[in-house]
Every structure is written in C-alpha cells, then in structure tokens.
C-alpha cells in the first residue's frame, strides 16, 4: 500500500498537479496560498481579528458562496427550461416531477436567492457598523451598493421565470412602479417588458438578463470588490 502511494506521489502526473507536499510549515503554507490561483485571492497572512466569526459573521463570504451555489444550481436548471410562455410553466412541472434531483435543485436555487438578498443587506449593515466605508474604502462601498442593486435585479428577473400566477403578477406590479419614470414614461414599458404588458418578450428579456447579463456584470463587480479589499489594506479594523 505504501509502495503504491509512493509510486502515485512520485509520478509526474501527481507532481504536476500538487507542486509541493501537504503544507504544514509556515513556508509551505504561505506558498500554498501564493501559488494557487483560487487561494491567492487571499493574502498569505490575515489580521487576527479578521478570522473571528463575530467580527464579520462571514456575511460577505456567505453572499459570495450563495452566488456560486446559485450559479451551479441555475446551470442545472437551464438544461430543462425553455423561456417560452407555452413551455416555461410545464418545464417547471417536469423539473419537479421527473428530473433527477429537480425539486431539490429548484428549491435550493429559490431559497439561496432569497437568502442572498438577505445576507447582502446584512453584510452592508455590518460594514456600516464598523465604519469600513471610511477612506480609503469609499470606492469599494460604492461597488458594494452596485452589487446590492445587481443582487436585487438578479432576484427580480429570476422571479418571473416559473411563469405562474405569483411570478406574472409580482413582475407586473413591480415593473408598473418603474414605468412611471418621468422622462421615459411608456417608452420604458417597451424597454423593460418588450411590449405594453408582461408577455413572451418580457420572459425572454428577463431570462437573458437573469442567466447571462446580470451574473456576468455582478461577477465583474465582485472581482473589483475583492481586489479593492486587498488594495485598501485588507479587511478594516475594529471600531
């Protein structure tokens, strides 16, 4: 057994994947973070208070993790969903009735989406409490507000997709408020809905925004958000 393990660990394939032994010294632990494309989002060392659960309650991290979970579950749902008024509702029924893990994945997508709106708000409150918007972090606070807006838009556009009575009337009520913009007026109805009321064009529009445009824009702002944390000297200090 040991010989097999040694053969595997000394193979060129293994060593090309894992460039160093398991990190258990300060040096290799630092290298592990520095040399990994995903881990190097983090600095090698972090402030002691930053690791305390009660300092951040992990709210920003949870929001990001929920975004990733929503991407994965959303991708799965996309395989079984067609954004057409004649098919969308039946597709949801098929997902619930006969797709493997369909009900579970749809439920996870729905509850993670609601939870993400909540955690993003709570994250903002936590950041305000610690005064972490103070210089040099003003710009990152603004990026955060944009991400809050994008989170709401992601949730709102997704709300229409099941094409049931809840979805249809919630979006009808929600968009009617926006249609009273003084400058745009009824023009914005066509811009938002693709017509004078919620219909096929609206479903397609919301679908494209929901699965491509908003996730992509949100991801770009998240990259900036995380990058600015590093550039502004890491997480803020206690009050």
């Amino acid at each position: 057994m040991n010989a097999v393990m040694r053969f595997i660990k000394e193979s060129a394939l293994w060593r090309s994947l894992f460039r160093q032994p398991y990190p258990n010294t300060s040096r290799t632990r630092a290298l592990a973070v520095m040399n990994n494309v995903f881990l190097h989002l983090h600095p090698v060392r972090v402030k002691r208070h930053a690791v305390r659960y009660t300092y951040t309650f992990c709210l920003g991290g949870i929001s990001f993790f929920l975004f990733l979970s929503l991407t994965v579950t959303g991708l799965y749902l996309m395989f079984f969903y067609v954004p057409s008024v004649s098919r969308a509702y039946q597709d949801i029924q098929v997902i619930e009735a006969s797709v493997a893990f369909g009900t579970l994945v749809r439920n996870m997508h729905r509850w993670a989406a609601h939870l993400m709106v909540l955690t993003v708000f709570l994250h903002m409150i936590r950041v305000f409490y610690h005064g972490a918007y103070k210089p040099p972090r003003e710009f990152n606070w603004v990026v955060g507000v944009i991400l809050l807006f994008l989170t709401l838009m992601l949730s709102f556009t997704g709300y229409l997709l099941p094409w049931d009575q809840i979805a249809f009337w919630a979006i009808t009520v929600g968009t009617q408020m926006a249609l009273y913009a003084p400058l745009l007026g009824q023009e914005s109805s066509f811009f938002l809905l693709g017509g004078i009321q919620v219909g096929q064009e609206t479903l397609l529009r919301f679908y494209v925004l929901h699965v491509i445009a908003f996730p992509l824009i949100a991801a770009i702002f998240m990259i900036v958000h995380f990058w600015r944390i590093r550039k502004d000297g890491g997480i803020s200090g206690p009050v």
Binding site: L39, W111, G131, M177
Partner: protein
C-alpha cells in the same frame, strides 16, 4: 535616545541644502565624540545613522505580530461556513417546497398582487404617494443615498458617537425600509387593505 544633528550641516556652506524629507545619513566617526564611559548601562548615546521612510516595501520596524496564516486559519473558517450554509440550504430545500401556483394568466387578476418581498416596501409607499415617488424618487434616493455615505462622512472616526449624523441617516434608511417592507408583507391583503397577520397571510417567497 538622543538623535544628534548632522555634524557638518552648518559648517559646510558648499553642501547642497538638505531637504527635510531626505534621509540624513551619517557615517560613524564623523561626528563629535560621544560622552559617557563605554559599557556603563544608561549612559550610552546613539546617533541617527539612517532614516528610512515607511513607504518602502520592506518593513523595518518589527511590531508584535497581529496576523495569522491564511492557511489554515482563514481557510478553515471559510470551509466550515461553506459546509454549514450548504447543509442549511439542502435541509431547507428538502423540507420547504418552493411555491408554484397555476400557470400565468393575464386575464385572471389574483385577490392580491404583490411584488417580490424586497420591493413590498416600495409597493407600500405606492399606497401613500403617487407612482413617480414610489417607483422613481424613493429607490433612487435610497441607492444614491447609500452610495453617498462615505462622501458625506469624511472624518476618520469610526465610533458611533463620532458619526451620529451618519448613524441616524443609515438607521432611517434601514429601519424605515424594514418597517414599510414588513407592513407591505404581512399587513396588506386584498385591495391593499389592512389585514392583521392572524386574519390571513398574503405573502409569497
């Protein structure tokens, strides 16, 4: 610790004027003799040899270490939290079914048509003011007001007593938003009339 002046600063008239932010570098032996018998503790005096500004990449002073290694400390916290949230999400999704009503029908208006819960505050405001206020003015003010916080509050102080105005402003946005959202969610029924939660819940997630 005494920091001596550069010995030739006044004597040498031809020397270029030393800018105050430039580091005076004094090599040993050029200054006057140092008083105090050698080796007697408490009588030694020191000369400034070099002044290194902190903007350099290399940290010169070694303070007590207030940092932890990301691996394992931060990554462990992140991993545990990711597992906890995943577990919570799976358990919730196994127990609570996402709503799905009858297929959308523009001809059948439900008893109460509500926006998604995070817009119910706006819908509540819509019942007091006209649509321009509820649909445009309030959300714009809300988002722009939030984004403007760091540009209004320019002081470096973080304690709540040092930024009372910002706290009041922020709490007005948060608690005001929470208040109208709760009313719109749980106290409004058919025709947007007042309904107590125990008389009937008109709320979908």
């Amino acid at each position: 610790m005494t920091i001596e002046k550069r010995p030739n600063a006044t004597a040498d008239k031809n020397a270029p004027t030393q800018a105050p932010d430039r580091a005076p570098i004094v090599s040993p032996g050029t200054g006057p003799k140092l008083p105090g018998p050698p080796g007697v503790p408490g009588t030694e005096r020191f000369r400034l040899l070099a002044y290194v500004k902190q903007e350099s990449m290399v940290r010169v002073d070694k303070r007590p270490d207030e940092t932890l290694l990301t691996w394992p400390h931060l990554l462990r916290a992140e991993f545990l939290m990711a597992m906890l949230i995943s577990g919570l999400l799976v358990v919730t999704s196994l127990w609570i079914q996402a709503p799905l009503e009858e297929m959308a029908n523009p001809a059948v208006t439900p008893h109460v048509a509500k926006a998604p819960w995070y817009f119910l505050g706006l819908q509540e405001i819509l019942s007091y003011f006209n649509a321009t206020v509820a649909g445009v003015v309030v959300p714009t003010f809300y988002l722009v007001g939030l984004a403007a916080i760091p540009f209004i509050d320019r002081t470096p102080f973080k304690a709540a007593r040092d930024r009372k105005l910002m706290w009041v402003f922020f709490l007005c946005l948060m608690l005001g938003g929470l208040f109208v959202t709760l009313i719109g969610s749980f106290f409004r029924g058919p025709g947007w009339n007042w309904v107590w939660p125990w008389e009937g819940l008109f709320f979908n997630l």
